[in-house]
């Protein structure tokens, strides 16, 4: 009975009610969107690397090392000498080790030098391996395997030639030694999608005629000569390490961190991520707090709307009372109306969120590498909705109690 009356009453004031519902919907969508982005970002970061026990690089901060070695954010402070790399590789605890050499680029994408072992040991999203469209991988010196985004953005297919640029701001190109696209990696949702992978030797090869960051003028060693050269690298940027037994991770980490010949740093990816979240967590909480305040503001707006409607509905209320409605019925009617508005707002907010996600998902993925999953609402999200409806009920109690107290006579008398 009350529900039917409430629906009818809301319908009669469609415009003001519509605006209030829209405000609630937007605030709910914002709140859930922030929450979704937060969990999506965490999951994307955590899914980027798995199965790697230690990352070794020059001594800097653990978060910095993780960011530049895995996420290609920022740059290395120093390189790691090949000799130190060999020393680590020779440790009995080491099951496998994959070197990484960064620093060159192709258009807007980073070029990474590594060994074929990378394709075998790099794992993402809980142990998934990379799958390459053409399974040969890096066979020739001038073979390059490119990520899905690289292929899509630049329209490359297997067999196409590509030229690597020196450094990250590409003003000089290694155009004397073009590469050939040997394979395209299926979409992973990790920074690998935006990476051009070549062999470690190839990185050395394209720098043969280069000294102190510039090409020696007039000098160009023929490719045939380079192929026969000893292309052992002198330095790498970082290395991914797998350890025989988990119990040895900390021992090896301590050994690397105390390695006297070179200041090195070994980190556990998961630990560095936890440290990153400890830093980012403050900003996340602030963001969540702000969006929660937006929900509160929308509910306060609804409360103000009900208050102002009380004036114009004085007659209506009086007629209800005159027809025999008890004060509690009036109270129930107003609370019911508020809860209905909040519920419609929350559901609409959900719909807005999903529409927004569908529109923004490809863009967010391409621009930030964060995959926002579109999935059924979680228990937590239902809980948020219940909270909004509950809060609306509480907020509407204030005007409802006012209406409850207003005497029958108040509405019947015509005030001038």
């Amino acid at each position: 009975m009350i529900l039917r009356l409430a629906i009818g009453s809301l319908r009669a004031r469609a415009l003001t009610v519509g605006m209030t519902v829209l405000a609630i919907a937007l605030s709910v969508a914002l709140f859930l969107g922030v929450e979704k982005t937060r969990t999506g970002a965490r999951a994307s970061f955590a899914d980027t690397i798995s199965g790697t026990d230690l990352i070794v690089g020059a001594r800097s901060g653990s978060v910095q090392l993780l960011l530049y070695s895995v996420f290609r954010i920022g740059n290395a402070t120093n390189n790691v000498t090949w000799q130190s790399y060999q020393d680590i590789a020779d440790r009995p605890e080491v099951d496998w080790i994959v070197p990484i050499s960064l620093g060159d680029s192709h258009r807007q994408f980073r070029v990474m030098g590594t060994t074929p072992a990378f394709f075998e040991h790099y794992k993402y999203r809980g142990g998934r391996s990379l799958s390459i469209s053409n399974s040969h991988g890096l066979q020739d010196l001038y073979d390059a395997v490119i990520g899905a985004d690289v292929a899509e953005t630049l329209g490359y297919a297997v067999g196409d030639p590509i030229v690597v640029s020196h450094g990250l701001a590409s003003f000089t190109a290694h155009d004397d030694q073009p590469f050939r696209v040997a394979g395209i990696i299926a979409k992973t949702g990790t920074p690998v999608d935006r990476t051009v992978i070549v062999s470690l030797e190839a990185i050395e090869a394209i720098h043969v005629d280069w000294q102190s960051g510039a090409q020696i003028p007039g000098q160009s060693t023929p490719v045939d000569v380079i192929r026969n050269m000893d292309l052992k690298p002198t330095a790498i940027t970082a290395a991914l390490v797998g350890v025989e037994s988990r119990l040895q991770i900390f021992g090896l980490q301590r050994w690397i961190n105390e390695y006297p010949e070179e200041p090195l740093l070994a980190i556990l990816p998961g630990v560095a991520l936890s440290e990153l979240w400890q830093i980012v967590g403050i900003a996340e909480t602030a963001l969540l707090g702000v969006s929660a305040m937006v929900v509160v503001t929308a509910l306060l707006g609804m409360m103000a709307m009900i208050f102002s409607s009380l004036n114009e509905r004085r007659r209506e209320m009086a007629i209800w009372r005159a027809m025999g409605a008890r004060p509690t019925t009036i109270l129930g009617l107003l609370v019911c109306e508020a809860m209905l508005m909040a519920a419609i707002g929350a559901i609409l907010g959900f719909a807005l969120l999903y529409v927004g996600l569908m529109l923004a998902q490809p863009w967010v993925d391409a621009a930030f590498g964060i995959w926002l999953p579109i999935e059924a609402p979680t228990a937590r999200e239902f809980w948020v909705m219940a909270c909004v409806v509950g809060a609306a009920a509480i907020a509407s109690l204030v005007p409802a109690i006012k209406a409850y107290r207003l005497s029958l006579a108040d509405g019947m008398m015509v005030k001038i």
Partner: protein, 194 residues
């Protein structure tokens, strides 16, 4: 008792060989201990490093009998894991190996040993005084019947050592690696949560 002088002697001998040309010091924060924890195939290994300040209240080389007694008592406490950690009883972990010792700062001894080679003895003396930090280490290995039940570890460590304020924990379990800061106010670590 015997392990202390032995450890000192070995570091005295080993340090100059290892640290020929390096002058590097690890970070050392009073009140903050570090703990490493790894679980694999039912084996749980825990390694604790605690600054001497937190354990016995001083970090100079124990010279008086009271100091030496304090160090010995601390090591006797640390060698018993129940004074440091309490594991979830459901995991049914059995202690298989335990060690605890005090190791002085290697660099400190290195400095001492090389005084006669150094051209600036005085400055080096100051440096040596600044750097004379000692640390206690403890290592425990457990065999656990149900390692997946190892969900919570609490730290009676804080009750036994009044100067300790914080433990920085790094862990690796089947669920992955992670880090946590355990404080005196909330001395518990939750593991294997998803």
């Amino acid at each position: 008792m015997k392990t202390v002088p032995l450890a000192l002697i070995t570091t005295l001998i080993a340090a100059p060989v290892l640290a020929q040309d390096t002058r590097a010091l690890d970070a050392h924060v009073h009140g903050v201990s570090t703990l490493e924890l790894a679980v694999e195939d039912g084996l749980l290994e825990i390694h604790l490093d605690a600054p001497g300040m937190d354990i016995v209240g001083f970090e100079y080389e124990p010279s008086s009998d009271t100091d030496k007694d304090a160090v010995a008592a601390a090591i006797r406490q640390l060698v018993l894991p129940e004074n440091v950690v309490t594991l979830s009883p459901d995991a049914e972990c059995r202690l298989t190996e335990t060690r605890a010792h005090l190791h002085g700062d290697e660099e400190h001894h290195y400095d001492d040993d090389h005084h006669d080679h150094n051209h600036d003895e005085h400055e080096h003396d100051d440096h040596a005084d600044d750097a004379s930090h000692s640390e206690f280490s403890a290592n425990y290995v457990f065999a656990c019947a149900h390692p997946q039940e190892l969900t919570e570890i609490t730290f009676p460590f804080f009750d036994n050592f009044g100067n300790a304020q914080e433990i920085e924990v790094q862990y690796v379990t089947d669920a992955g690696a992670g880090a946590a800061e355990i404080s005196r106010n909330d001395p518990s670590l939750r593991l294997n949560e998803r």
